[in-house]
């Protein structure tokens, strides 16, 4: 056992030795150790290098507030950076690496930053890296400075591979959530759960409940934990950090499930996110000790007095053999006695206060400990570990005299205690400055947050927590010549903060950003009060006048995995598949994402790329027959005596005159008059319509209809129901479409006279009930077969078999797009962009001219919507038929327009048309219809593409092919 271990006591299991490595060096600790306590037991205090100056650093704390001892833990393909060694529970085989050093922790080239540190002061980044203006304001930063600085400064390396772990999520509700399992929290949990009814969640970030009680051997802790465990209404969460406190008593907890285990259980989540809604929140988050900002206060071996005591009593490890105590608080006396009892020699207690409590001083003297009151540490020496301190006496004129040296191998310091008000502050509670405690304490609870703070976090300090000091301790000579660290993690010194105030940063928010104090991953848990003290002194304002920066979530850093939870990979977002999807997969289809839907993009046959496949599929439809899965189309069944009246009011078209069994192409506008959706609507009965919408617009259109029905026209007797997923939709398009369906359909006469274009019939196909539409989005004779989704695949296969017999086959969305573009059929969202009227896209004919009102009618009458020169849908033919312009490309009158020339419009759709044997494009162009015949240009990086404006129909302009 290590020489530094105490002979007995503490929470470690001395019978269970654990091996671990730090930077590859094999060491031993015990079950119950943290990585920090185990390293200290091995005589290692140097655990990392500081962020900016690469100064050697060791832990100053024994808990979550740790700014220095950040390490990377690697295990079975995993690598987690920036973990606090003070919180990492030791397990057999743990492998930890120090960070921010090169080539090695104890020989680090970056430490040269420390030698040039006079040039790296506060605001250095802002002031220095302004490169030559000619190269652009940001050139030097992005090309030179930032890469160099990033290589030299920083924290651990982000892992590069995917996260191998699983993360769980749990929404929970409770009557009382107690945060913090120390004395106060346990007492609160006992009380809250006593009636056996109130559901209570108690959480604590440590491996064991107890907080400070773990430093002593009282029986109350064990009894209390047993009582709480026996109550079924209490849920106890260890290793669980409450990291965010949001509105309406909503608190986020991070429960660490496996990081402490030597063997990772198969399949078990690594962490669990609890999203707790609590009737009442009881904050029992305790207090954090503040460091003292004295010269060279950052050498390894210098730590908080409470932490030193914790290492000695809870972890059974002496932080060193000879300690100097530097304090402004009574509690360090207790720490000194505890360390002494643990076998540590105490060089002296150096108390900044002129008159420490005489009883405490007497107690110390009795234990053989020298007490120097009115005394400060004025410097420290030691390379990778503190070896000596220098002390000086405070004079009545506030100067410091004397330079006695004391040998020690660690320093325990205490600037007093600060209530942990972070979560209270996150909950938007208002703080109050407490003169006695020299700290902020909770004052006014935010509206809607039923909560209270208890114990030390409420400022209810025990007697021995008396005494505090904020700011930098006095030094002999020029305070600008010493490095007294305030924010250890961001390497901010007292001098930096004074510099900031001299340079005009008088708001604490400005000081924070200028110096970066409090902006590191520890969010200034140990530095805020000292920073405020220095600002207060420099500005000659009282500390409450200086103000306080905001505490933000998360309290401690949280893994990305926890936030992602289950939403990873295939579960990131719902992947919606049609009933025919698996058939398409089996055929080797390529898919494209359309919103959450997977749609068959094309069906490549041997050796075909997308172009070859699409060309072939277009030939099938134009030549014989193609079948297409249109199941994703939005569908709404509208029923009620006022159904036609409702359609009259929402769509631009006439509906009351639509006969039963007939269909009409509907155009939907918003109130502003712009096209937002379109689709075929069929009348199944006088009071029943089958509406189709675009795939992407389905939910939006349904919500819009519901809005008007509920809030504008609640008197209408009509109701809608989404039937998007009720039906699989199979489009059968091409001259042989009728021949394909004929053998399968029962009860429907497919002949043109009986079943004209834009009609609907109900009957059976393959024995299944169908709503059969005669519609065409290809310009060919076409039908759309609607069958219940569960039958979709089987009906599709039957239709496909017939199509094969006719020399046809399946086609995908790419061919569908080409075919409709050849006919000039628009796609809402492609030809329209939210600023196009029906007339702009050539659909003015659809508007019911005699209607007094419909959604968008008044909008269409606004002057700008009726003005000449609006963009209009046209076709484009490139002069070189082989060139396919890019969609979105701008169109100009000249081939080489002067910079700043406004475009006339842009290309909305552009394809190779196998049918036409040339490229075709649709575009919207100012005054486009009057420009038919003009030659315009599409300026591109490789030279302008000349195009002729044509009518937006490239194939069968008379529509004769619809008749088959």
């Amino acid at each position: 056992m290590s020489m530094l271990r105490t002979p007995s006591g503490g929470r470690i299991d001395r019978t269970r030795a654990l091996r671990f490595t730090f930077d590859g060096r094999l060491m031993q600790g015990h079950q119950g150790d943290t990585l920090a306590s185990a390293l200290i037991a091995n005589g290692v205090h140097l655990m990392g290098r500081s962020f900016k100056y690469h100064r050697p650093r060791g832990p100053i704390s024994a808990g979550a507030e740790e700014p220095n001892a950040l390490v990377t833990v690697t295990r079975s393909g995993r690598s987690t950076p920036n973990l606090r060694a003070t919180q990492i529970e030791l397990y057999e085989g743990l492998a930890a690496l120090s960070q921010n050093r090169w080539p090695a922790l104890d020989f680090d080239i970056g430490a040269i930053n420390g030698l040039i540190s006079p040039f790296l002061g506060a605001g250095f980044y802002y002031k220095t890296f302004m490169g030559p203006k000619a190269l652009g304001s940001n050139w030097a930063w992005t090309k030179i400075y930032e890469p160099v600085i990033r290589a030299a400064a920083g924290l651990g390396r982000a892992p590069e591979g995917p996260d191998l772990d699983r993360y769980a999520n749990r929404f929970a509700h409770c009557d009382v959530l107690v945060i913090g399992g120390g004395d106060a929290g346990l007492t609160a949990a006992l009380e809250a759960s006593a009636d056996g009814k109130a559901s209570v969640i108690l959480c604590d970030e440590q491996a064991e409940f107890g907080g400070w009680l773990l430093n002593s051997d009282g029986a109350w802790l064990g009894e209390t934990l047993a009582t709480l465990a026996s109550r079924p209404n209490v849920r106890m969460l260890r290793r669980t950090q409450a990291f965010g406190y949001f509105a309406q008593n909503f608190v986020a907890l991070q429960e660490r499930l496996t990081d402490h285990l030597a063997d990772l259980p198969e399949g078990t989540p690594r962490e669990r996110l609890w999203q707790v809604r609590a009737g009442e929140v009881i904050l029992a988050t305790g207090a954090i000790e503040r460091p003292l900002a004295f010269p060279d206060n950052d050498r390894p071996g210098i730590m908080l007095a409470g932490a030193a005591e914790t290492y000695a009593t809870r972890y059974g490890v002496r932080p060193g053999t000879r300690a100097a105590i530097f304090t402004a608080c009574d509690s360090a006396y207790g720490a000194a006695l505890a360390l002494k009892a643990a076998g540590v020699e105490i060089a002296a207690i150096v108390d900044i206060r002129l008159k420490p409590d005489p009883a405490l001083a007497a107690q110390a003297l009795e234990a053989g400990i020298a007490v120097h009151s009115g005394t400060v540490i004025t410097g420290t020496t030691g390379g990778k570990r503190v070896s000596h301190i220098t002390i000086g006496k405070l004079q009545p004129d506030a100067s410091v005299r004397g330079a006695d040296q004391l040998a020690c191998d660690f320093v325990a310091m205490s600037g007093g205690w600060v209530p942990s008000v972070h979560l209270f502050s996150q909950s938007r509670g208002k703080l109050r400055w407490d003169e006695t405690l020299n700290a902020y304490v909770p004052n006014i609870t935010a509206p809607g947050q039923k909560q209270r703070s208890v114990g030390a976090c409420a400022g209810a300090f025990s007697a021995e927590m008396r005494g505090a000091f904020n700011g930098a301790t006095p030094v002999p000579g020029d305070p600008a010549k010493v490095k007294a660290f305030v924010d250890f993690q961001n390497d901010v010194t007292a001098r930096d903060i004074r510099l900031a105030t001299r340079e005009g940063m008088h708001s604490v928010e400005h000081v924070k950003r200028f110096t970066t104090t409090g902006m590191a991953t520890d969010q200034g848990k140990t530095s805020n009060m000292n920073a405020l003290g220095i600002v207060s002194e420099a500005l000659g304002k009282s500390l409450p006048e200086v103000g306080l920066t905001t505490f933000r979530q998360p309290y401690t850093p949280v893994t990305f995995g926890l936030f992602a939870g289950q939403a990873r990979g295939d579960l990131f977002d719902p992947v919606r598949k049609t009933p025919i999807h698996n058939w398409a997969v089996a055929q080797g289809a390529a898919f494209e994402d359309v919103g959450q839907w997977k749609r068959a993009h094309y069906f490549p046959q041997k050796g075909e790329d997308i172009h070859a496949a699409t060309n072939r599929e277009c030939r099938l439809v134009r030549g014989t027959v193609g079948i297409f899965d249109a199941s994703t189309l939005g569908k709404i069944e509208l029923v009620g005596p006022d159904a036609a009246e409702f359609l009259e009011r929402v769509y631009v078209n006439n509906w009351k005159n639509l006969g039963v069994g007939r269909c009409r192409y509907g155009i939907l506008l918003n109130e502003a008059g712009f096209v937002i959706d379109d689709g075929v609507i069929a009348r199944l009965a006088p009071d029943r319509f089958h509406i189709t919408t675009t795939t992407g617009g389905a939910a939006r259109v349904f919500a819009m209809f519901e809005d008007y029905l509920q809030t504008e026209w609640p008197d209408l007797k009509v109701w809608q129901t989404s039937i998007t997923e009720q039906y699989a939709v199979i489009a059968v398009q091409g001259p042989k479409a009728r021949a394909v369906l004929a053998p399968l359909v029962e009860g429907i006469n497919l002949a043109s006279e009986a079943f004209p274009h834009m009609a609907i019939r109900e009957g059976r196909i393959c024995g299944v009930e169908t709503r059969l539409f005669r519609v065409s989005f290809s310009g060919e004779l076409g039908f759309e077969v609607n069958v219940p989704a569960s039958q979709g695949r089987a009906v599709w296969e039957a239709i496909h078999a017939e199509a094969i017999k006719q020399g046809g086959g399946a086609y995908g969305t790419e061919a569908m797009h080409v075919l409709r573009a050849e006919k000039g059929f628009i796609i809402v969202g492609q030809e329209t962009d939210g600023t196009m009227t029906p007339d702009d896209v050539g659909l003015g004919w659809a508007i019911g001219k005699a209607k007094t009102d419909f959604i968008g009618k008044r909008g269409l009458m606004r002057p700008d919507l009726m003005a000449a020169g609006r963009k209009q849908l046209v076709g484009l033919q490139t002069l070189d038929p082989k060139v396919v312009p890019e969609e979105g490309a701008q169109i100009t009158a000249e081939a080489n327009p002067a910079p700043g020339t406004a475009a006339l419009g842009h290309v909305t759709s552009s394809y190779w048309s196998e049918t036409c044997g040339r490229s075709i494009a649709l575009a919207v162009i100012a005054n486009g219809r009057a420009r038919v015949g003009e030659v315009l240009h599409i300026p591109m990086p490789g030279g302008a593409i000349a195009v002729t404006v044509v009518a937006p129909v490239f194939y069968d302009p008379k529509g004769e092919r619809l008749n088959g």
């Binding site: 949001f246 309406q248 809604r277 919500a703 519901e706 809005d707 809030t711 008044r858 606004r862």
Partner: protein, 94 residues
């Protein structure tokens, strides 16, 4: 995650079940044809953007499906009250 009281379900439900639907108490003119361009533009586009309480519409889209109105504080996000569509804004005479 905020809780919003649905006046139809009469219970507090998580905000993810709801969608905001813009300002409340803006009536669609019964005969839009008679409105001036300025009036119509106001109906379409001009909305209050107060710092403080605002009356707005919400829909319990992943719940009962109903649109309703709410008085919300734009600074604190606090929902003072929610009420059914068609009911007057609390504190005003219908």
């Amino acid at each position: 995650m905020l809780l919003i009281h649905c006046p139809y379900c009469d219970s507090n439900r998580p905000e993810t079940e709801f969608r905001n639907a813009g300002a409340a108490h803006i009536l669609r003119p019964s005969d839009p044809a008679t409105t001036s361009d300025a009036e119509w533009a106001e109906f379409l586009y001009l909305r209050e953007n107060p710092k403080g309480t605002i009356a707005e519409r919400w829909r319990h889209v992943h719940g009962c499906g109903r649109f309703f109105n709410a008085i919300r504080d734009t600074v604190s996000d606090d929902f003072a009250v929610t009420y059914r569509a068609g009911e007057p804004r609390p504190g005003t005479t219908p």
